[in-house]
């Protein structure tokens, strides 16, 4: 009764629980996107595939940094808790984070995979890890080459010449992906465009990071409601700005080192959120003591303490202040250099 329907498709990538998957038929690839109750299909005939591009990304490293940072924090909290309930909670969290970090490490570096046809460039979301993408590429390469065997004969004698730029239709073939075929792309004042659309938010993010670092230093020096709230508020604004910067930089050609600084900011913000969650009860307890009793199990002994009383808190705070000043400062310097380098092109 539960017999499988006959299907021409064989799975190439993706698992049952994932949203995207890639399937192979005799003459085409099928990219499937699953939503709640529907499946959407995109077909790529082997004969039409012009290229497959794997672009390595830093996501796995950022994930690893965040997970290891959180792992270290939960480990410290697990080791320093006195109450049995809190210890069990933090140890379970440490185990979960450890398993996630191991899983991330096992899957290897992340990537974005694109498939080019004459019409468009498609992102294959089913392929998000380099190892899987390379495995799929190795599997598909002979199949695609077999499907294009006659095209190979046509293409072989042709050398890349500028004459082909005048060939009718060639420009159209690559309009979306390249905005030009063999024709040199139209002159783009790309740095200027980036400054207008992307870098302003990056300036704000790096600036806010410096302010946030100083606020944290103020929390350590003059602990109180005002310093605590200012730190949390700047952290919240920084988080929003950071998300905007990450979205903006995806389509710009900001230098890689600036983009790396933004990713490092993400790790900083994650660690800061955990830290602020831990110190919020300290900051607010004199005012909200009656309402915060429930937190006592997870963070016993926090009420009435100042941050200086906890060596772990002081150590982490100093590390975060150093990171904020370093990353924020470096980011601003890199952005300034980038702006100076692109200034003549804007004239």
């Amino acid at each position: 009764m539960a017999r499988k329907q006959a299907s021409p498709y064989r799975r190439v990538s993706g698992r049952n629980l994932t949203r995207h998957s890639l399937w192979q038929a005799d003459d085409h690839l099928l990219h499937v996107r699953r939503s709640e109750f529907t499946e959407r299909y995109e077909r790529f005939y082997f004969r039409d595939i012009q290229a497959i591009v794997i672009q390595r990304t830093a996501t796995s490293r950022v994930l690893a940094a965040i997970m290891l940072g959180l792992l270290a924090l939960t480990l410290i909290l697990a080791l320093t808790r006195a109450s049995r309930g809190a210890m069990v909670f933090w140890w379970i969290l440490t185990a979960v984070l450890g398993a996630a970090a191991l899983w991330n490490w096992r899957l290897g570096p992340t990537c974005v995979c694109y498939l080019m046809t004459a019409i468009d460039r498609y992102r294959l979301k089913a392929l998000s890890r380099v190892a899987a993408a390379e495995r799929v590429l190795t599997r598909l390469q002979p199949v695609i080459q077999r499907a294009q065997a006659d095209l190979e004969l046509l293409a072989a004698p042709e050398a890349p010449t500028a004459d082909r730029a005048n060939e009718p239709g060639l420009y159209l073939r690559h309009t979306h992906a390249t905005h030009a075929g063999l024709v040199e792309p139209p002159p783009v004042v790309h740095h200027g465009a980036v400054i207008r659309h992307g870098a302003v938010i990056h300036y704000a993010a790096f600036g806010l990071m410096l302010v946030n670092g100083l606020c944290l230093a103020a929390v350590l020096a003059w602990f109180g409601l005002l310093t605590g709230v200012s730190y949390v508020v700047t952290l919240a604004v920084l988080s929003v700005t950071l998300i905007l910067a990450l979205i903006k930089q995806a389509d710009t050609d900001l230098p890689a080192r600036v983009q790396r600084c933004v990713w490092a900011q993400l790790a900083y913000v994650s660690a800061s959120v955990v830290l602020s969650l831990n110190f919020a009860p300290m900051s607010l307890s004199p005012y909200l003591r009656p309402y915060l009793r429930g937190l006592g199990m997870l963070m016993p002994g926090r009420y009435g303490m100042s941050p200086g009383d906890s060596p772990v808190f002081v150590g982490l705070s100093i590390m975060l202040i150093a990171a904020a000043l370093l990353i924020g400062g470096m980011g601003l310097v890199f952005l300034r250099q980038f702006r100076q380098a692109s200034a003549p092109q804007n004239v």
Partner: protein, 195 residues
């Protein structure tokens, strides 16, 4: 492979050097430093045929395209029989079809290989059966959801589900769960009636 550089970097959209094509390892985009690995295939550098460019004008005593009377016909549509020029001739699974037939076939669902989306009724039936139990608080909704799940399972049992390999196990599970729920309601009503 002697392919011209027609590819651009996914990040900065500048042309990538052809030295990166089919290189064994990852290479770096000279403009933005993006790390990429590129496999190109003959379709990238294959010249466009004159036919696809539009072809020559129709000559005397030649059959002309139904849609473009100034172009010579190259094939008749296998569905409606109209003469088609190289631009209008769409080859699908070995069949020559005109754009109108392809469009109507897509609307009617005649061409399965043009389908873009399918609804997974087995998933719907299973979730309708399971969600009220999982959410615990809404268990009493099963008085409505169980018959609905049963109806969906029976109504769409034979309807094509996914294009991918898929069993009827979800339908089966939905039927069993729905029948169990209906049975429990029946038992509950019976007990209340006895009391």
């Amino acid at each position: 492979m002697n392919a011209p550089s027609l590819l651009t970097c996914p990040r900065c959209h500048r042309l990538l050097p052809s030295s990166l094509f089919n290189a064994p390892d990852f290479g770096v985009c000279g403009n933005c430093g993006n790390t990429v690995k590129i496999r190109v295939f003959p379709a990238l550098s294959a010249p466009l045929s004159a036919e696809i460019d539009g072809g020559r004008a129709v000559m005397a005593n030649e059959a002309a395209c139904f849609y473009h009377p100034e172009k010579p016909a190259v094939a008749p549509c296998d569905h409606c029989g109209r003469f088609l020029c190289a631009l209008c001739d769409l080859e699908l699974k070995g069949q020559h079809l005109c754009p109108a037939c392809v469009e109507s076939g897509q609307k009617k669902g005649t061409f399965h290989h043009l389908e873009k989306e399918r609804v997974l009724y087995d998933d719907i039936a299973l979730r309708v059966a399971v969600y009220p139990i999982v959410t615990v608080f809404f268990w009493f909704f099963t008085i409505i959801t169980a018959p609905v799940a049963l109806f969906l399972s029976i109504r769409y049992w034979n309807k094509p589900s996914s294009l991918l390999p898929r069993t009827k196990i979800r339908f089966l599970a939905a039927i069993i769960i729905a029948m169990a729920q209906i049975g429990l309601w029946g038992w509950l009503v019976f007990v209340i009636w006895l009391l």
